[in-house]
């Protein structure tokens, strides 16, 4: 297990999570280092998405769900009474498994969030769109069709619009739930490159089912099984000399 001393941006402490009576996560404690990529892996249904959505309070939307324990972001528990989940989600952005652009133009997809938090000037919005699209490495493909509906783009392009849309809110952390699982290898490679680039400015936590992907892009990897964090170590260690037998079995595909 790793404990990150300095530069820790999110600390999860003894978290249990329930969907009604069903406990989806058991006693999770884990630290996320700033400006690093952390991968969450594990078999289907082990609670990766649940943990991810817990980090920006997206699970609040689910009726009957309940959190115990603490998620500390910048020294405050985000589940404290006086914390506004809206504010948390602004600081901790999210990209979903299926690309989900709004049925609006590319331009309006990206400016939707910033406009609602008070960016009004046309020149500011235009600059923001360019910056976000460049960061999402979509600028060259999209700069001439900003007025076109984002729904008309390919899946890979749509996913990058969604990344740009999240980045336009200038978050500190970017949560990504299997962002490439619906994409072809070329779009996947593009997004992996992009993640490499983004970690200079953002902290990235990514769920993936693709072991090579986790090995390629992440600094740390956490392996989950049945709602428990089985092993959390630097990625290199996990993929060469894991501490736990179960991790090794899963990574080498001997799991069953």
């Amino acid at each position: 297990m790793v404990t990150i001393q300095d530069n820790c941006i999110i600390k999860v402490r003894n978290v249990d999570f329930y969907y009604g009576k069903f406990r989806a996560l058991t006693d999770i404690s884990m630290d996320f280092e700033k400006n690093r990529v952390t991968a969450l892996i594990g078999p289907s249904g082990c609670g990766k998405s649940t943990l991810l959505r817990l980090l920006n309070r997206m699970n609040d939307l689910i009726d009957g769900s309940r959190v115990e324990g603490e998620v500390v972001f910048e020294g405050k528990n985000i589940y404290d009474q006086d914390i506004d989940p809206v504010e948390i989600r602004r600081r901790i952005g999210m990209v979903f498994q299926k690309p989900n652009p709004f049925p609006k133009s590319i331009f309006n997809n990206i400016t939707y969030g910033p406009r609602l938090v008070g960016v009004r000037k046309k020149s500011d919005l235009e600059a923001l769109v360019e910056q976000s699209l460049r960061q999402a490495s979509l600028w060259d493909e999209a700069k001439d069709i900003l007025g076109q509906s984002a729904m008309m783009l390919s899946g890979g392009q749509q996913q990058r619009v969604c990344i740009a849309r999240a980045l336009a809110m200038k978050p500190d952390v970017l949560l990504m739930d299997e962002p490439t699982s619906a994409l072809d290898p070329i779009s996947t490679a593009k997004i992996e490159e992009l993640i490499e680039d983004l970690k200079k400015r953002y902290t990235i936590i990514i769920v993936t089912h693709n072991m090579q992907q986790a090995a390629r892009i992440s600094n740390y990897t956490g392996f989950f099984y049945l709602g428990k964090l089985i092993e959390y170590n630097p990625t290199e260690k996990i993929f060469t000399t894991p501490d736990v037998r179960q991790t090794e079995d899963y990574i080498t595909g001997r799991f069953g």
């Binding site: 939307l61 989900n100 049925p103 609602l116 999240a166």
Partner: protein, 284 residues
């Protein structure tokens, strides 16, 4: 031929027959009204008030009255219905209370329109002392079409993909803004459809306005929402049942019915055009 194909053909035959029956009925009714009513339709008929104990002249006050009552009903019921639907679908915890409210709404949809008329009479005309006027009639009709609008709005809200809501909320956009900026615009075409049905119903009803708004005869046009008005369905009813010249005024009755149908179809057409325009601009 195999039994399977016979069954399939029987089924398709039954489906075609039902479709044909409905279409024939609609066309027959429209045709009948058209043939009987078209002879009296003229510019004067549409722009003049009735005269000579309503055996001659036009129906302009009734057209205007129906337009006022129907618009009033929509102005009242649309916001109320949409807001209720938003509450039921977006905010309320799904449970017993919401289920009871839904059952209530459905029951409301099944209440006979004469009951709405009496309710309007009791509440608006008598208790609140609005008298028999546009306001009372519009309120009564508004309540009448509320269930239709709530139902259609809820369906429309449900049809907005959950992923849109999640995408917006995940950006740190507040829930009410998500509903206002993302959910509502995408539900709008569906809500429009509900309103179309509501408009048709409100324009055609007689019983709810009989005690609350409709005048037997007035030649003057309403000056405020506290005035009585004539209305097309009530005018037909009066001419066909209560006058001393029932047979003599048959053409006028059919002409009025034709106008009512044309008015409702016209409103529907406008709503359909607006809806398809919104749909086209949504591009998805």
């Amino acid at each position: 031929m195999k039994w399977r194909y016979i069954k399939q053909n029987l089924f398709f035959g039954a489906v075609r027959l039902s479709a044909l029956t409905i279409t024939t009925a609609v066309v027959a009714i429209l045709f009948y009204i058209f043939v009987n009513g078209i002879s009296v339709i003229s510019w004067d008929f549409l722009t003049l008030p009735p005269r000579d104990a309503m055996t001659k002249g036009g129906i302009m006050p009734a057209i205007l009255g129906t337009v006022y009552l129907t618009s009033g009903a929509i102005i009242i019921a649309l916001p109320l219905g949409v807001i209720s639907a938003i509450y039921l679908n977006e905010y309320a915890k799904q449970g017993l209370v919401v289920r009871i409210i839904r059952v209530g709404v459905n029951c409301l949809a099944g209440v006979p329109s004469i009951v709405f008329g009496l309710f309007g009479l009791g509440l608006f005309v008598v208790f609140l002392q609005f008298g028999s006027c546009i306001l009372s009639g519009a309120l009564t009709l508004g309540f009448l079409i509320l269930p239709t609008i709530i139902g259609a709005s809820e369906e429309a809200l449900k049809a907005v993909p959950q992923t849109f809501r999640e995408a917006s909320l995940a950006l740190g956009v507040a829930k009410w803004q998500t509903i206002y900026r993302i959910v509502l615009p995408n539900a709008l075409p569906g809500i429009m459809t509900g309103s179309i049905l509501g408009i048709g119903r409100a324009a055609g009803e007689t019983a709810p306005i009989m005690f609350t708004a409709a005048a037997f005869y007035t030649s003057k046009l309403p000056a405020s929402i506290f005035d009585e008005v004539m209305a097309l369905p009530y005018h037909i009813y009066v001419l066909a049942t209560a006058g001393t010249h029932i047979e003599e005024t048959r053409p006028i009755q059919y002409g009025t019915a034709l106008m009512l149908v044309a008015l409702v179809l016209g409103i529907d057409l406008i709503a359909i055009i607006i809806r398809s325009y919104i749909r086209r601009n949504r591009r998805w």
